[in-house]
Structure formats: C-alpha cells, structure tokens
Symmetry: none
Subunit: 534 residues, 2 copies
C-alpha cells in the first residue's frame, strides 16, 4: 500500500506562520519567521503560508525579505488575505493589490461559506459574496498566481444551509481555484461529522463537476481534541490538501499538528506526502521551531516529544529488549526520535543494562558493576532521587562504578547561604562557597535573586579562573518538587536542573530534606558533567 | 437526541491514579491521591481506579486509607492488578490476595490478548492465559467484586491473530466480567482502525453471545494524537465503557483526556454520562487536579484550558458580542469555562463575583469593590500568584477590600535565614524572625531541616505565647513551582502551602523571584487565615 511521493497530487500546506501565529502569547520577529520558513522548507512541506501582507506591517516586511532572501528547495510561499471587499472589484481593492505586491507565487483567500457570517460579519448579500470569490480568484489567476480558497466556518455553514455552502465551493472551483479548503473554524467537529459532511458535499458537487475537478482541502482546529483525527478523516473521505501548524500552535486549543498529521499519513495510511528522507527530520524540526517560538517543546507530543517513546522498564524490560517492535507503535527512528528506557524504583538489572547501552556503556560483561549500580539507584531513589529525567546524574553514577569516575573539577568544603528580609520589605540572598579546586582552596561570595541563584553565582565565581569554559554553560531549567506531601516543610525536596552548552542539554538531580542541599547536589553534578563533556 | 443520565448502562472509568500516574516525572503522595479521588467523585465519574495494591507500597497504603477515609457520593473505587500468575490458582496467588485485602469493591485485571505477548512477556501458553483469566474473574466474583478485564495490546493482537484475541474477549465475558476493555496499549491506532476492529470483533462475538452480553470498553493512548477521537469512534461502534485520565496524563504522549471525552460525548453526541450538574464543574476539577499533580494546567487544552474560548477580538468584536454562538463551538459555561476577548480587560469581573459568592461574600452590590478586587487579582497574577488553588489567599484579599480586612495577628519586621553546609557534609538551616505582635516586638530563632522549615518553626515560636491555638495548625502540604516563561534559578517561584486544623484544610499562595520570600508570603497568610478561622 506504500506509494511514492505524490508530487502535486497531494498538498501539505503549512500555516504555522499565519494561522498558527494567532496563538496567545506567541510573537515572531521577521527574522524568526524567515528562520521558521527555512526549516519548514527543509522539512519538505509543499506550501508555506507566511502571513497577511498589507494588513499586518511585519508580514508585509516578511514577504519583501522572503522574496529577496529565501530560496526554497521545495516549498512555495503563500500570501493570505480576504477575498476582495464587497461593492468594488479585485483590481481596485488596495488590500488585494498589497497581496500581489508581496510577490508570493501563491494566494490563499478566505471566503465566507456560512450564510449567517455573510450577513452578520461581512454585512453583504449571499450573491455579492459569490461575486467576491469569482472576481478574486480570476484576478489572482490573471496575475499568474495559484489561488486557494479557505471556506471559513464551512462545517457550521454546511450544517445550517448545505445548498449555499455547496454553491460557494462549486463557484470557487469553477472560477479556477487550485483547491477549496473546508475549515472547521470554531473547531467543534468530531471525525464522524467530517466524514459525513465531506461525503455529502462530494455527492452534491458531483452533479455538476467531473471528479478530477473536485479538489478539496481540510483545515481543522483542535477545540474537541480531534484536529488530527478530523484531518485524517477528511483525507479518507477524499480531500487532497491538508493544512496544519508546527506543534499544533494556534488560537484557542490550536490547529491540527502538522507533524502528527504527516506521521499518521505516512506511517498509518501508507501515503508518501513528503520528499524522500524528510520524515526523519521531524523531531529535530519540531524542537527547532519550538526554540524559535520560545516555547518549551511539549515533552508528551505524539511522535516528536521527548517522552513519546519512553518506557518504564520494570517487569517488561527483558521483553522490550527482545522485541521493541511489540512496544512501539512505529520505529522511533522513522520520525527522528529515540526510544528511552526510564530508570525507576521498579527498575531491575535488565533496565539498568539497557539504559547503560543507550549511554554507550556496555555493562553486560560486568555483573558486579551492574549489581552495584542497581543497588545504588534503588538506595538513592528511596531517598528521593529520581533518574527518569536525569540522564546526566545517571551517567555520572554509572561511570563512577565502572571506570573509577569522571574527573571532578572541584570538591565542596563548605557553603553558607543567607537570605535577609529587611524592615523596608526588600529581600536579598547571598552565598559563600569554599571549594577545593585542583588542590587549591578557593572562596567566593555572590548575591542573587534567591538562595539557589546566589549559590549558582558563587560556585561559578569560584571556578571561573580555572575553568573559563564554564561561562558557556547556561542553566536553562530549574524544577523543584516536594515529595511526600503529608509532612509539610520538612518533607524531602527533589530538584532537577537542566544545563546547556548551546548545542546539547543535560539534566541532573538532587534530593534532600533541605532544599538548598538538594539544589547544591544538582548544580554541582550539572557543572561537573558539563565540564567533563567539553 | 439528548438522553437522561444512563446510570449503570454506560461507564465513565477514570484511571488518573493508576495508568495516568505512569507519566514521566509525576509523583503523587498518598494524600495527593486521596484528594484527587475526592475531586473525581465530585465530578461524577462512575469508577475511580486507584492503583495496584500489593505491587506498589504507596498504593497499598492508599487503598487502606481510602477504605477508612473516603466516602464517595457516586463513584466506586477500583483496584488494579494482573490476572493471577501462570501455574497457580487465584486463591493461592499472593498478588491476588493483596487485591482482595485492599477492600476495593471493584477489580480491574489486565490480561494479554496478543498471543505474541502471551509467549514473549508472560512466557506461558495461550491456553494457560485463558485459564488465568477465567480463574481470576471467578475468584473475584466469588468475593463479591465487580471485575473488569483490560485486554492489553488488544488492537495489535486482533490484527495479528483475530481468532485468539476474540477468544480472550469471549472467555472473559463468559467468565462473568462486567465488561472487557479493549486497550490500544501502544497507542498506534487511528479512528478508522478502531471502527473497523470493533465492528469485526462484535460480529465475531455475536456468533456465540447475545447482544446484551457483549459489554465492551475502550482504553486509548495518545501516540497518534487520536486518543480522544479513538474513544469516540469506539463509543459510536458500540462500547459502553470509556477509560481516560484527567488532563490526559499518562505515559508517553498520555492517555485519552477524560475531560475532552466526556465533553464530546455530552455536547457532540448528546449522551448524558455524568450526573446532573457535574459537567459545569469540569474546568475547576481539571485545574485543581493539575495543582495537586504540581503540573501547570495546559492553557490550550480543549474545553478546560484558559485559552480554550479566548478570541482575539479584532474586526469581529461586535459580531462576537452580538452572537457568540457563531464563534464558540459550545457555550463555555456548560463546561464551567469562560469566553475571553483578548483585547479587553473586561474578563474576570464575573468570575470574581462568582467566586466571592462561593465564599459567602456577595459582591454584586459593590461595583467599586469588585473593580478593586479584579484589578488586584490581575496585578498579582501578572507577578506569578495564582488563586485557582489558593482559596484562603483569595478570601483574605477579598475581605481586605470589602470589610477592611481580617485582623492580622502579626506583622513582619525582618527575617534572616541561614543555611550552612559544614566540612563534615552536614547541613543545617536556621531562621530568625522579628515581628510586631499586638504592638509588642518579638524575636525568635529556630532551626529546621531546610530554610522554609526553619522559617515556619521560628514564626510559630514567636507567636506561641500570644496564640497558643497555633499548635493545633499543621502544615500539611508545600508545593513549589518554577513558572514557565522565566528561566533558570532567577525565575519566578510560586509556592502553595496547605494547612489543617484537624477538621478542615486551606491553601495559600506566594510568588517571588526569591523562593524564601514566596514561601514566607504563603506561610504568613496560612497562619493568619488559620488564626482568624478558629
């Protein structure tokens, strides 16, 4: 059932930079948008909708720079706008002229297909709405543009008045639209609705149109949690164009996640919708776009999440080892992701061995080391450590047992942290650390916003002379969790710290009844790991 | 097409505390689990799966305490385990005995339905697997338990060997299982797969079983991003039992989000699956469980997310105001959420008024106080406060604005917290507070396991003479979260503290870049509230 890549016959249409940019709290600079567009082209989508030139000044600038600076390998750039305004012509509409001025080779024009929106939002007649579509499509075609029509609120409109909604679609197709995209704008549909509506629509269109002229697309929003499934249902009902956004970014609960849509089309329906070799870039591209958007990648995202193929080993470790295909729904490598075995309190020797192999350490020949490591993991976990998310701490522990340990750039003698709240209501934190650094006694004091920030600053100050590389290690995430809620402020605290050297990231853990002590452990291990890594 | 609540005929089966607790990085204390179970019962689910007694020590403790302390209004508590081991009897299997000892009235037993897993993971024969199911179901029934069978990897097993997978389901139903739950354990299915498999299965079962005996359930994982849609497809194909977790928590990309599933069943398929008046609690229950799990609520979650009904007003503001139903796929009030228009600051006043009414304070007559409170809430929330789970802090704030405030038993002058780590590796925390207590200057110093514990001890010591009742107020929970959007150790920290006077509990909040300062705020408000309450 596997096909070859269907060039031109099926469209992957990305709207990360237009509809996806509507997400609350998300702001791209023009440079951000150029970088995202390049990533999307590298990923192999067919169309990249870049924004609304003429209406949004930074989008006008984006298209101007894109025309000069971007050189897509595969994709075509799309400019979005409304069909021309009521009571004028496309040639005379300044909004439409801005669209042509953008130099984008493809236009995507939003049109009303729900007669209630025609009357209440556009405040015009159903007939004029049709004339706006025809005139706009023809004007775009006359200027050598490919033109798509997005039918806003299509599914509500079709339910309310199927005759008019069908007329809108047919009119756009007959006027020369490349495809007409059916939008579930308010996102209220579930897959059975989509199947039913598209099947009905196709039958109505088939009265006047030859099958090859019925070119439909799907644009789903995620308000029922079904955007990906709705898009698949539409493809199975015959659409040949799917819209979505990177990581499902978008207004309200977001748009259909284009990564999940593509991975499902390719691995579940056996379609080839990307050029060869592109699907395996998916995890990397997803995370890179999240970084540009300045949003934490969703750890639990299907296919591309850090946890998407993470298994708690426990009792099934040996079975997973024997046949991972029984536990993964697809081979993670296909989408550029990895399988991970989580080391948990239930972990036995088998999962420690498996985890070691992931880190490139073969423990299969050293039964005694394996026993020591397993025992130590269990001991630490009973005290509140957790290695599930702290690969770097786990690796330090393993290397300590098998190779005598990584070199330690420093050992702690003492630290003192003071937090003062003064009568004026200001608080300040100060930390002093006394370390042994390669045999020398070093003392440093620093202030910070809070106690851990001060400790981090003092530690870096103490090490900066001997380890100038330290300046390139950034602390990127700091998580605190209180364990065993029943015992209040004297409960055990677990701290997870993530550091980055710009290229890769690693996470360390510390646990203690004293939050400062737990933070110290995670900080010290994070810097030790980072300095050894370089 | 709307029905009345189908008591008993349709099951909502929640597995937040069992399968959902497998989520990477998530750890509940026993007290957390008891609190989540109470919320789920209040929400009106039919079954609450609490864990695996006998296998996980904290789950054993949860069931013991649940039997003594929980008094469900609607739900039944479910204990999870495997069917009995191969080569023994259920009566002789100590794992099975632990299940009965849990005193849970309902058992959910996981069984293999994929013959490859029977052989490779269980390492037994297909026949013994069937015997294990029959023996386990009967033994549970003989001890007056309702028994469910979860068929692990059902959809893979059915595709690989439909005859054996069907035999497993039929065997379990014939042995007396209340329902057999079809699990997409590795989460690799899309809705059309589910429809096809369940339709085929039902035809195969109908050969031997009367229609009313074919009682099936659905358990979906979200690895294709289709867990909610798969669950809906299963209901449309005839299952009468759905499993899911609060907010979709679970391993890898998680489980079917029970909130989205229920909202779709009720508002899209016209079913009544919750008792009357429960659906509108959904948003609040979702956020409260997120707080207990110490995970940020997903702003973009369908139905319950803060952004689920947020509209950028833009050009359509007046159209939205005239007829919100054209822009919202359901009325947000139905699920206890609000519509928000992002450009206005109008949102909030209505919910502050509603919240005040909940606390017994009528704000409807005092427009100015309502405005002051709303403004103050927004101000504090922009600095990291969150009142969703901190009713006591909210009440203090409201009473300050309408009645001149509750009496303050003390005001802070200064505090100092010192944490020392000595050369022997021991760490100690010491706090000194200087307060004004009813006009008198009081100073007290105390030690603790960590900085917040020391601060708590010093504060209590300073107040103990004037407020002896303080001894009866216990600090029962302490949660710390580093807020997203800010990075590293200088990010904003939010602290939630729960206190109890033995009878009732209350929660307060503090937020600041300095963790100690945030903790102080929450501590001071918690004691102030507690002393006023008595």
């Amino acid at each position: 059932m596997t096909q070859t890549h269907t060039d031109g016959a099926f469209h992957v249409f990305d709207t990360t930079l237009r509809d996806g940019a509507q997400m609350e709290g998300l702001r791209y600079s023009v440079a951000d948008k150029l970088a995202v567009a390049e990533l999307l082209d590298e990923f192999g989508v067919d169309y990249i909708e870049g924004g609304w030139p003429g209406a949004i000044p930074s989008d006008t600038e984006f298209f101007a720079r894109a025309a000069d600076e971007l050189n897509f390998k595969h994709a075509k750039l799309v400019a979005f706008a409304m069909t021309r305004r009521a009571g004028t012509t496309a040639a005379e509409d300044p909004g439409f002229q801005a669209l042509l001025d953008s130099r984008a080779p493809v236009l995507c024009l939003v049109a009303k297909s729900d007669v209630r929106h025609v009357e209440q939002a556009l405040r015009t007649t159903p007939e004029e709405n049709l004339a706006m579509i025809v005139d706009s499509v023809r004007h775009g075609r006359e200027h050598d543009r490919e033109v798509f029509i997005d039918c806003e609120h299509f599914f509500d409109g079709f339910r309310h008045d199927p005759v008019y909604a069908t007329l809108v679609v047919r009119t756009a197709l007959e006027a020369g639209a490349e495809a007409v995209v059916l939008c579930d704008t308010n996102g209220g549909r579930i897959p059975s609705d989509i199947t039913e509506a598209i099947t009905d629509l196709r039958e109505r269109l088939a009265v006047d149109l030859a099958p090859e002229r019925i070119r439909l697309g799907m644009h789903a929003q995620n308000d029922t949690g079904c955007a990906v499934a709705n898009t698949l249902a539409a493809v199975q009902a015959g659409v040949m164009h799917v819209q979505g956004t990177a990581n499902g970014y978008g207004e309200r609960p977001g748009n259909a996640d284009i990564f999940s849509v593509i991975a499902n089309l390719e691995t579940k329906l056996g379609m080839r919708v990307l050029p060869d070799g592109c699907l395996e870039k998916m995890t990397r591209i997803s995370h890179a776009i999240a970084e540009i958007a300045n949003l934490a990648p969703d750890e639990h995202a299907p296919y591309v999440g850090h946890a998407a193929f993470a298994h708690k080993a426990g009792i099934h470790a040996s079975a997973i080892k024997a046949d991972p295909a029984l536990y993964n729904h697809v081979d993670p490598v296909v989408v550029g992701n990895d399988m991970r075995i989580l080391v948990t309190e239930m972990a036995g020797r088998a999962s420690v061995e498996l985890k070691g192999r992931e880190l490139g350490i073969d423990l299969s020949g050293d039964r005694e080391a394996l026993d020591r490591i397993t025992k130590r993991v269990k001991e630490l976990e009973s005290k509140g450590w957790s290695f599930e998310a702290a690969d770097a701490s786990f690796e330090l522990l393993v290397r300590d047992e098998v190779e005598g340990g990584l070199p330690r750039p420093f050992t702690l003698d003492t630290y003192r942290v003071i937090v003062d709240h003064d009568p004026a209501g200001h608080s300040v934190a100060e930390a002093t650390v006394r370390l042994d650094v390669d045999g020398a006694r070093v003392i440093a004091t620093a202030q910070g916003n809070g106690p851990v920030n001060a400790l981090d600053a003092a530690l870096r100050k103490a090490l900066s002379e001997r380890h100038p590389k330290l300046a390139s290690l950034a602390l990127t995430d700091f998580k605190v969790r209180i364990l065993a809620g029943s015992t209040g402020t004297d409960a055990v605290t677990r701290v997870l710290i993530t550091m980055s050297d710009g290229g890769s990231e690693w996470t360390t853990v510390g646990a203690a009844p004293n939050l400062i002590e737990a933070s110290w452990n995670a900080l010290a291990e994070g810097l030790t790991y980072g300095l050894n890594r370089q």
